[in-house]
């Protein structure tokens, strides 16, 4: 989806347009009842193991996180629940941990993109 003329914002909007057409009005992200500042379950629509497992890995890499796991309650519905519990004696809340995990994932993707492009161009240059 490398629209060369678009800014990253426009590219994201186009992808999201496609996404919204599938959602039909249900809420994308919900915090399930029973959440406290340090322990919460988030339910996200129209996501599966692709995002779930990757996000779980990044949230677990945070040393303030006591527990992080994800589940798909039923395979017929595209809902994913992710539970995050942070250690009570840290200032990090569950939402903070989730946000940090997402930001880490974005940064990692940028690094991978960069290195991949570099390696590809180097390889092509060597071939010719």
């Amino acid at each position: 989806m490398s629209n060369n003329g678009d800014t990253p914002m426009e590219e994201l909007e186009d992808y999201e347009k496609g996404e919204e057409l599938l959602l039909d009005g249900t809420k994308k992200l919900v915090i399930l009842p029973g959440a406290s500042s340090h322990a919460a379950s988030f339910q996200i629509e129209k996501e599966d193991h692709t995002l779930g497992n990757a996000l779980r890995y990044f949230v677990n890499k945070n040393s303030d996180v006591e527990f992080c796991g994800y589940t798909i309650p039923h395979p017929s519905e595209t809902k994913m629940n992710i539970r995050i519990q942070t250690w009570e004696d840290t200032k990090t809340t569950a939402v903070d941990a989730l946000r940090k995990g997402l930001i880490d994932m974005m940064e990692a993707c940028d690094v991978i993109s960069e290195k991949f492009t570099e390696a590809r161009d180097e390889f092509d240059a060597k071939q010719s």
């Binding site: 890499k61 989730l98 993707c109 690094v111």
Partner: protein, 399 residues
Amino acid sequence: MPAHEQSNPWAPLTPSQLEQRKIVSVNPETVSHTAATDIPGHWGPAQDDSWNLSRFRDSLKVDFHHNKPHDAAFSLVGVDASIANAFRRILLAEIPTLAIEDVFVFDNTSIIQDEVLAHRLGLIPLTGGQEGLKWLKWFRKPPPKDDFAAQAAWEAEEGEDSAASVPSDYNTIVLTLNVTCRWATKAEDGRDGKALAKDGESDPNVRYVNSNVYAKDLVFEPQGQQEKYFNEEEGNQIRPVNPDILIAKLRPGQRIHVRCHCIKGIGADHAKFSPVATASYRLLPQINITQPILGADAKKFARCFPKGVIGLEPSPDNDSDELQAVVKDPMKDTVSRECLRHAEFKDKVKLGRVRDHFIFSVESTGQFGSSELMLDSVRLLRAKAERFNRHLTELEEGR
């Protein structure tokens, strides 16, 4: 053994523990140490396994093995399995691709049923100008008229976004297929099909004209702005990747006249929208020879692996003139564990796979280039994270 069983939790990791972190063991009947253990706290207080972007950047490596336009093989070293898997899943199911979706049948007197013909047309991989394909917008298909519930939900929602559900030049590509089969005639084709048939000719290519309908018979009809993006002179027109795909067979008097509408979709919806023939990865195999394997045993050992994996070299200790088995190229190995079935050396070798070394193979169907697809996959994962982040912010603000 895990941290809590160590006598001193502050001691550096032993070699066997380091190996456990790095290698998945492949045993005669089982695999062990499969789970990744680089989580903060697992290896004790001295080991810092928390996320560190600069450490990740330093340890990440990408090495290409080959990079043909529609077939790329490369190694991604230093990422976790969950990320590599996310890329693989996105390549298969979530990258938008163009394919034939709606087929309007004007005339189909062939022996292929309408729906079978439409199914076959949908599976034909298409290609065209890359810039144009990225420019194409999404088309929101209305539900079938006989699904009353969905139809009602659709009408209730109609107001906001009706532009996306109207087939227009920015969201639909039109292809036409119009083929009629007839006998070959002297006047038009230089041979009399009927006469040749009477003489015993059975080859349909000789007897008839247009008896085979190929993908190359699909005609692209540019609408509006599409002429700019899918310019025939520059070779950007929408065309099938392989023009020799056989769609149907006809006999004289039979005709297929259809108009096909192509739209963008994702593999999760229908496999025809998957841009890759397949995308897969495997982990780098590791063969660890713990005690020297010499002479005839070494030759037998080398034969247990594919050619090029094991080489025979003179023993460095110079104990004897016998050749010793040495691991030359583990990437060629298919991990059949054949060497573990022979008593002579099954205790002298340890097999395993390197946990964070992924050898990807991305084969494109032809619409996009393989390396471009991989980059799209990485960007898409980033877009998903960004979108989730935005929803999280909205949720927090809404509270």
